[in-house]
Amino acid sequence: MTMLSARTRLADSTWGYLFAAPALSLIGLLALVPILGALWLSLHRRLPIFGIDEFVGTLNYARLWSDERFWAATRTTLYFTGLSVTLELGLGFVLALLLSHMTSSTQVAPRWVQVVIVIPWAVPTVVSAQMWGWLYHSEYGLLNYLFAAGGIVSEPVDWLSDPTWAIHAAVLMDVWKTAPFAALLLFAGMTAIPPDLYQAARVDGAGAWAQFRLITLPLLLPVVMIVLVFRTMDAVRVFDAVYVLTGGGPGNSTETLSIYAYKVLFQTLQFGYGSTLATAIFLIVAGLTAVYLLLLRRHLRGGSE
């Protein structure tokens, strides 16, 4: 009886911690501990197959600084990120405007349109890489066939064996997979804009372009920022899409930071230096996030003034 009454009298806050603890422990064990562990490993020279494990301080970071392949991977990653995020946002806007046009003329966007848009998002990245690999095939790929039929190329292009084309082939694949999703977010933002604003603008004689520039764009800016942040973070850490499509080749022309770190870690089994690379990626992502947050805060403050 005393046990029971003690239990029923558990403070609400105690219940709260009991409820929250399991989830937070799992996150702590498998996300926070490993991130600190990687930082610790990055200060070591660790080659498990030779039984080598010694503390070397910041030696790995000095090596990183003079590692030409690291800088090349950084350039590749930033180029991939900049280009694909720009294209995704642009195409996302076009698709969202189309959706909103359909909605305004038929009151509701047909169900199949949303289905079409959700499909690329749901397809596993590995599948999209295999799929595009086949489209890009130099001899039997549909892309070369269509381009040749349209007179755009005179002879087949080996998209994935040419360093210049390969990275752009990866960008196009990424745009296919993610632009529709950006469109959905932007479309949701557009439907949240009160229609009265457009009516008032039309009464004042504003054309379609003026309406877009003066109403849609400013009111959509928060959503644009969110799409930008999420897409940038995803693009900077890109791994599976490019790894399955090109393996980082030809040469190292499509080797992103994550692919380079993965190869150092699991192909050459250098756990120390691999962790240094991984930590560098983490810092780059954190830095970009901080920049975005600052921009976002300045924008929000500017908006409220």
């Binding site: 991130i35 596993p124 295999q130 799929m131 549909l142 991984a278």
Partner: protein, 275 residues
């Protein structure tokens, strides 16, 4: 009048192009998967005159791919169950119970979604190996659940907050403990939110590649995306088989996405647009 027709024409054209861009690659994969080998290595014809189910037969008859599909099902179902159970409890505490540091917890949880998976890979791999969990489905279930928890917690917290607080308070006044109020009053109302979160976790886990690649070592625990990426080609790449296999691997998540697309879109946009 003419301007209107031009505009309509442009609109229709851009619509066709958009749909073609989104669906084209998948349609081509479907066409490829039913082409006999002889037709794979020549273009035209676009469509084969003699479609075949041979690639599907080869893929479905391959025990290693069938095993990987089974592994994926177990991992995705396990991760979903775990993430929804733990995430639901945690979200309830954040939404309705008086605990300290809610903003800090939500912020920390959100920052984990920004982690590049490669940043934790080295030490996670050593941890999993030290626990003796390497090449087991359990390692993937736990890892996928941990990385799906932040999204689940965010979606469910906002969902629980939208359930009127009076319902919970009335249950407490009637003598329910927080636990029984949660199970008897909140959970039944929150079913739609739980379903959305479960769906997103399942799709994430089914599609996930980097953890699945590094934490598995053999067919015993290999998931479908990894099996597809490592698809064996002895002499030439078997494009027909790959096409069939990739569609088989996509089918479960595509069916889920088609059935519940409205909820998925709502769940994903609610968090980012309104939040």
């Amino acid at each position: 009048m003419i301007a209107r027709w031009v505009r309509r024409g442009l609109l229709a054209l851009s619509m066709v192009l958009s749909v073609g861009f989104c669906l084209g690659p998948i349609v081509w994969q479907v066409i490829t998967s039913i082409k006999p080998d002889a037709d794979l290595v020549r273009l035209p014809p676009i469509l084969s005159a003699t479609p075949t189910a041979a690639h599907y037969a080869a893929v479905l008859g391959d025990p290693s791919l069938a095993h990987s599909l089974l592994n994926s099902t177990v991992v995705a179902a396990g991760a979903t169950g775990l993430a929804i159970t733990l995430g639901g409890c945690c979200a309830f505490a954040l939404a309705r119970l008086p605990i300290m540091g809610k903003t800090v917890i939500l912020g920390m949880v959100l920052s984990i979604t920004m982690f590049p998976p490669i940043a934790v890979m080295s030490s996670l791999y050593l941890l999993v190996r030290a626990l003796g969990l390497r090449d087991t489905l359990l390692a993937l279930i736990l890892t996928h659940a941990a990385y799906a928890l932040p999204l689940s917690i965010w979606i469910l917290t906002s969902f629980f907050r939208h359930i009127p607080a009076v319902l919970y308070q009335a249950a407490r006044v009637d003598g329910c403990s927080p636990l029984s109020a949660f199970v008897r009053v909140i959970l039944p109302i929150a079913k739609p939110g739980l379903a959305v979160a479960a769906l997103l976790v399942f799709i994430f886990s089914w599609n996930e590649f980097m953890f699945a690649l590094t934490l598995t070592a053999s067919e015993a625990s290999r998931t479908a995306p990894v099996a597809l990426a490592l698809f064996p080609g002895l002499h030439e790449i078997p494009w027909g088989d790959i096409a069939a296999a990739s569609l088989v691997v996509t089918a479960p998540v595509a069916v889920l996405a088609l059935l519940f697309q409205r909820h998925i879109v709502a769940g994903l946009t609610a968090g980012s647009v309104k939040g």
